[in-house]
């Protein structure tokens, strides 16, 4: 999922302080699964903000609503009425969702309530780790299912570097060296030949080096 983390309460409070009627809009997909912006988080945040403002003597009116996703018009429009009747929207969706709302409701200030971070997985209870950087040209078959672009801090295609020690990355002793993982995996699969010879440099255009990307699926258009 796309992993995000809710912004600190103080930062959110400061960004919405000028509004009398606020809509907190949650998203039921990625941010719900990483406990940053689903309906539970919307409810908790709304309550916390009301208390925080009440303490300051301000009686802010907060509407709480969550839609399935904020990256598709079909679901965004379900929030249209709520967006119209409030002074501002605090969206707990990822950055894409926030922008999607903002582009469709240009008259409404739309503020981000989470910091969107990475594409990752839930490794174990409470631990989300980054595994994919959306490079646009997946090479996981070569590397035994471990991504050197995302998980090697130096994006080495012919790793490891000289800083790999005891299977850990020089950047963080808690982080596995991706190249150790690649080598272990390829050994287990009997595919060490994949990395025996020179692997050429990457073309970074599919990764976004050429500007914001788009995908047009003409076959889906009726």
């Amino acid at each position: 999922m796309i992993v995000a983390e809710q912004k600190p309460l103080a930062e959110i409070k400061a960004s919405v302080a000028q509004y009398e009627k606020l809509l907190i809009l949650g998203c039921g997909t990625c941010v719900k699964t990483c406990f940053a912006g689903g309906e539970d988080e919307v409810a908790t945040l709304a309550s916390a903000l009301r208390l925080a403002f009440k303490k300051d003597g301000k009686d802010i009116k907060i509407e709480e609503l969550t839609v399935e996703r904020q990256c598709e018009d079909e679901f965004i429009q379900e929030a249209a009425a709520a967006i119209e009747r409030n002074d501002a929207v605090l969206s707990l969706a990822c950055g894409a969702g926030v922008q999607d709302i903002a582009s469709r409701f240009a008259a409404s200030p739309v503020l981000p309530g989470v910091n969107t971070t990475f594409i990752g997985i839930l490794e174990k209870q409470g631990l989300f780790i980054e595994e994919c950087s959306g490079c646009g040209d997946c090479k996981l078959a070569t590397y035994g299912g471990v991504c050197p672009v995302t998980r090697c801090a130096k994006k080495l295609f012919n790793g490891p570097c000289g800083g790999s020690q005891n299977g850990k990355c020089e950047v963080d002793p808690e982080t596995d060296c991706a190249w150790q993982l690649i080598i272990d995996r390829l050994k287990a699969l009997g595919q060490m030949d994949n990395i025996k010879h020179y692997i050429p440099p990457n073309d970074w255009r599919p990764s976004g080096a050429g500007g914001p990307r788009k995908l047009f699926r003409e076959d889906l258009v009726v």
Binding site: K154, G162, G163, S164, E170, Q180, H197, P201
Partner: protein, 310 residues
């Protein structure tokens, strides 16, 4: 700049000599005096000098500039290039610029991650890795083309080097990677500093078995330890460093004021052992902020005088 003259280091190695190289870290500022001072400490004692490229990701005067300063005072520089800070466009550009200024040796590295340095907030690059950089240099030199296939109006005839770390993991893959580097274009190899001789010997044996020591010149890394504290610090904090307990104990076993001398003794022993090893073509003395000691080490190791540059 006489560009037709060959790299001095290349000539010495190709003629079968035992080469001596050292390291010079540029200053954190634009002061050339620092570079000149270090150059003066090394002049006459070494065949070539590595000039580091924002080592440990701390912003310093560029390697390219410092190389030119050293060249102007009669030393032969080895320009280190890391792939951390510059993309393939900038790297190719700098290679051409370096050659035009008379630099003939380049050492290719990925580079220490910027989280260690003075600008952890910077966006890192790592557009290509050190293997790609080696190959880029080889292509530019032998085919006269840049990475895009464009024919250069003059191709940089660089002597290409790479680093190797016999002490990093995974151990068994290190020699495969060394083979890859040589295949990509590495002609000389400088290793991480050696304190664990048995592990180094094992790595060297594996390299010899693969025929790699016939294809590239291996220079063993040497760093004099100044104290037990320095040894312990390096062992704990420098990635890929292997300092056995017995080395630390040796340093702890002498009075503090004698520790530096003991460290030099250890260096000299290591150099002597390296000279016995088949497949080792020289030593690379990395005396970090301790360049004054290099001359003494080279002399005491019986490696003087250095061959005159042709």
């Amino acid at each position: 700049m006489n560009k037709d003259k060959q790299s001095n280091l290349k000539q010495i190695l190709e003629s079968g000599g035992f080469a001596v190289t050292a390291e010079c870290g540029p200053p954190r500022g634009a002061d050339t005096e620092v570079v000149i001072e270090k150059g003066n400490l090394l002049k006459g004692y070494v065949d070539a000098v590595n000039v580091t490229d924002n080592q440990t990701a701390i912003v310093r005067m560029s390697s390219l500039a410092a190389c030119v300063h050293l060249k102007q005072m009669g030393l032969e520089p080895i320009m280190q290039m890391v792939t951390r800070d510059r993309n393939r466009i900038a790297l190719q550009s700098d290679i051409m610029g370096a050659y035009s200024l008379g630099i003939k040796n380049i050492l290719c590295l990925s580079g220490d991650h910027q989280t260690f340095g003075s600008q952890p907030d910077a966006l890192n690059v790592f557009d290509i890795d050190s293997m790609h950089l080696l190959n880029m240099l080889k292509t530019m030199r032998d085919e006269g083309k840049d990475m895009s296939g464009f024919e250069l109006n003059e191709s940089p005839q660089m002597f290409i080097g790479a680093a190797a770390n016999p002490f990093a993991d995974p151990f068994e893959y290190r020699v495969i990677r060394l083979a890859k580097k040589i295949e990509a274009g590495a002609q000389f190899i400088q290793t991480q500093c050696i304190y664990n001789m048995p592990r180094f010997r094992e790595w060297l044996r594996m390299a010899r078995e693969e025929g790699l020591t016939e294809k590239a010149y291996v220079l063993g890394g040497i760093t004099p330890l100044k104290s037990a504290r320095m040894a312990k610090y390096m062992a704990a904090n420098v990635a890929g460093m292997d300092i056995p307990d017995e080395v630390i104990r040796r340093l702890e076993g002498v009075p503090k004021e004698k520790a530096a001398a003991e460290g030099i003794k250890i260096c000299l022993e290591t150099i002597a052992e390296l000279r016995q090893e088949k497949g080792v073509s020289g030593v690379h003395i990395m005396a970090i902020e301790n360049e004054a000691k290099v001359g003494g080490i080279v002399e005491a190791a019986g490696l003087m005088p250095r061959p005159k540059a042709v």
